[in-house]
Symmetry: C2
Subunit: 168 residues, 2 copies
């Protein structure tokens, strides 16, 4: 990583960001994201589910009882698109949809025991890779990793992320 220059003179960190260095970062994102999704994808394939199902399970687990609308906002897809995925998860008994007590228009989403089991399997596969990468790179690198990713998000996504990050 010696190719990321700083001005050694001043104490302040100035980056010399050549297009070349930025290109490397862009390609690193591309290749790393493939690795990031590879393990869950393999598990999902056998079950005839896709990445969209994984994302739904992940965020329902994260925030049990959230409404369809909230999930929609987090995932950033249209409700029709989410609905299809949700439909199969509910039909297959992985997710339970309960009518809101106060507002009966709302549907609150929960994982069933079966759904929670699959979520655990998927996220554990993903954590194994993440853990290995973190160990390889070391704690300082991990801190930097998170900082850059957070700075890369759209403001609206960052709001979502930070809300989730520290407990909803």
């Amino acid at each position: 990583m010696a190719d990321i220059g700083t001005n050694a003179a001043g104490g302040e960190a100035l980056l010399f960001l050549t297009d070349e260095q930025l290109r490397k970062g862009i390609e690193a994102m591309f290749f790393a994201y493939r690795g990031f999704t590879a393990d869950p994808d393999r598990i999902l394939e056998k079950l005839e589910y896709g990445r969209a199902h994984h994302r739904a399970l992940h965020f329902i687990h994260r925030q049990s009882g959230l409404t369809v609308n909230t999930l929609l906002a987090v995932l950033g897809v249209t409700k029709q698109s989410l609905n299809r995925v949700l439909r199969t998860l509910i039909d297959d008994g992985l997710v339970e949809s309960r009518v809101g007590r106060r507002d009966k228009r709302e549907r609150h989403l929960y994982l069933t025991e079966k759904g929670a089991a699959l979520e655990r399997e998927l996220s554990e596969a993903q954590r194994v890779r993440m853990r290995a990468a973190y160990r390889t790179a070391g704690p300082q690198a991990v801190a930097g990793f998170r900082q850059v990713l957070e700075a890369m998000m759209d403001p609206e996504m960052r709001r979502q992320y930070l809300m989730l990050r520290d407990g909803a």
Copy 2:
């Protein structure tokens, strides 16, 4: 980022990787990748192209004259899938396909002036965001960012990436 613990006692860095911390990393990847692709996606939409076209343009630019087979390996898709995309790019005059001189079975791919112009527009949009994120996070964070991403790749992808990283 104070939540990433190290053992302050020893000089050696031991990470305390709780599932919670790993989850934050996973969600950061998810939200950041959306930001990462958002700007090019907006440009592509107007032109009726998709992310697949962008990826093809990117790697043809990176390695001018590469063969279809090489591009296939880098992108990790099937030839039918790539062919559809390549077809439209060639028909629209963004990419040129030349028969190999030594091996006439091969097709070598080049960007036309028009193709290069679009590639520049797309990658500049992506670099703007990347540059901003790098500036915000600082040089140390950037180094860590790249280290973690590299560690996260599949070995085969890492090989591809490292080959490209330092000039093909």
